[in-house]
Amino acid sequence: MAEIVQVEKLNYIYPDGTKALEGVSFRVNSGECVGIVGASGAGKSTLGLCLLGLLAGQSGRIMIDGLELTKKTLKQVRGKIGLVFQNPDDQLFMPTLFDDVAFGLLQDGIDGEEMEHLVIDALKERGLERLAYKFPGHISFGQKRLASLATVLVMKPEILVLDEPSANLDPQARKQLIEHLKALKNTRLILSHDLEMILSLANRVLLMREGKLVAEGKPQEILSQKDLMAENGLEIPLSLRIRA
């Protein structure tokens, strides 16, 4: 399987001196679903922002589908990779859901009937078509999460980066979101400390601590190591504890 994401020795230091990423290197194959896990502050969100070039690493290299991420390739790279932000309120900034989903398409020069079809389809697939002309501030958090997913998926990105997608969701909405993510065929990078969700979705897990990758492997192997989990401020998922 072709490698679609290559990250080599990526470093990022915030202006206040905080080292967020230190020599991070990993590869992701096309169609893979990779869980990037770690406690809060491990550098997961920073990594997500770097993958889209929203933060520029001080050193290191990012290749997306054979394209090196530079200022010149930024537009092309962002056409291949989409990021669903941790807080859906940050992602939904237009007056209606329709406008929000259409935003990326319009920036890409897709308008008219084609744009309308794509937007309505994206909303329909997430069961949100009846909310198309609602103000995003007036829908439930679970609906906001699905809507922010629609805003990115409508662009048909090959790679989808999801930052804490299950955060603040009630059990029903969380289950619905997991079903949606399971059905997707895109390459997915899920940045989360919801290990149960990672277990049910990911083929592979990368474990981060203080900006470094500290472990990599199959979800069951990594997430069932009691000491490793404890050292990294995490807990073995309940389903693995029950099985043990």
């Binding site: 922002l49 889209l52 929203l54 537009k75 962002r78 056409g79 989409g82 990021l83 932000f85 807080n87 309120d89 940050d90 992602q91 900034f93 237009m94 007056p95 209606t96 329709f98 406008d99 259409a102 935003f103 990326g104 319009l106 920036q107 890409d108 308008d111 744009m115 309308e116 937007v119 002309y133 103000f135 501030g137 805003t151 990115v152 662009m155």
Partner: protein, 257 residues
């Protein structure tokens, strides 16, 4: 403007009345013309301005905007235009004949009343404009009317960040209220809250900026709907202009006050 008012006005903007359905360009030009005509009268004019109130009242009825809300919004802005003419009664002592009543009144009082009435009319027009067209549609219209891109993009961000600021302020105010036992805090704590509010809003604004960039935003607002002039828009614009000119050129010439 309170959080509630801001949201109510925004929600009104998404109704589907005959006024809402008009092209926002027609509304902008009509209201701008209305404001220019209202402002163009000499300073000692009062009675000739009164019939202009028909215009916002008719628009309010047709758009379904409640008079109460309209009046409330105008009252919020009223200190600004009242302040402008507040000292006129003391500074302008010219005596002016009031027709119909046959009495003389100090010019400053008339000019103050005139400024207040003009302010009321102009603000009513502005409130009607923003409550019958969504703000993004108005920005699109301004873009279509060839206003500089830098100006329209700033307006769009102002709109989005204004709501963020209001939402953050509301959350902080609730948190403060819960921890202060319902007592109002001192000036110093309000001051520190303001600085935190600014930082939090900047943080949120930064996150939204990243989300926009991630979806290809290139400093230009592109929107889903296209602007289309229809016969109704021409009729509305023509009627608005004829009405304003009739009051300005015919009625004023007869009353002269």
């Amino acid at each position: 403007m309170s959080y509630h008012d801001a949201h109510i006005l925004d929600q009104y903007a998404y109704q589907a009345s005959v006024v809402h359905r008009l092209d926002p360009r027609a509304k902008i030009i009509a209201i701008l013309f209305f404001v220019i005509i209202v402002v163009s009268f000499p300073k000692y004019v009062f009675i000739s301005l009164l019939p202009f109130a028909i215009y916002p009242l008719v628009l309010a009825i047709l758009s379904g905007l409640s008079f109460r809300l309209l009046f409330r919004q105008v009252l919020i802005a009223s200190p600004f235009f009242i302040l402008v003419g507040l000292f006129n009664p003391f500074l302008d002592r010219t005596m002016i004949d009031v027709p119909f009543l046959g009495i003389q009144v100090r010019g400053g009082i008339i000019s103050f009343a005139s400024i207040a009435l003009r302010g009321f009319l102009c603000v009513s027009g502005a409130v009607l404009l923003v409550s019958t067209s969504s703000f993004p549609r108005l920005v699109e219209a301004l873009q279509a009317l060839h206003l500089p891109k830098a100006f329209t993009v700033q307006l769009m961000f102002l709109y989005r960040y204004l709501f963020l600021l209001i939402e953050e302020a509301k959350r902080m105010s609730q948190a403060r209220l819960l921890r202060s036992g319902g007592f109002r805090n001192s000036f110093s704590s309000a001051r520190s809250m303001l600085s935190v509010l600014l930082i939090r809003t900047l943080h949120r604004a930064g996150a939204i900026w990243l989300a926009m960039r991630a979806r290809g935003f290139q400093d230009e607002i592109k929107t889903a709907r296209k602007m289309k002039w229809s016969f109704k828009d021409f009729i509305f614009l023509a009627l608005s202009i004829i009405f304003c000119l009739w009051l300005r050129l015919i009625i004023f010439e007869q009353i002269k006050f």
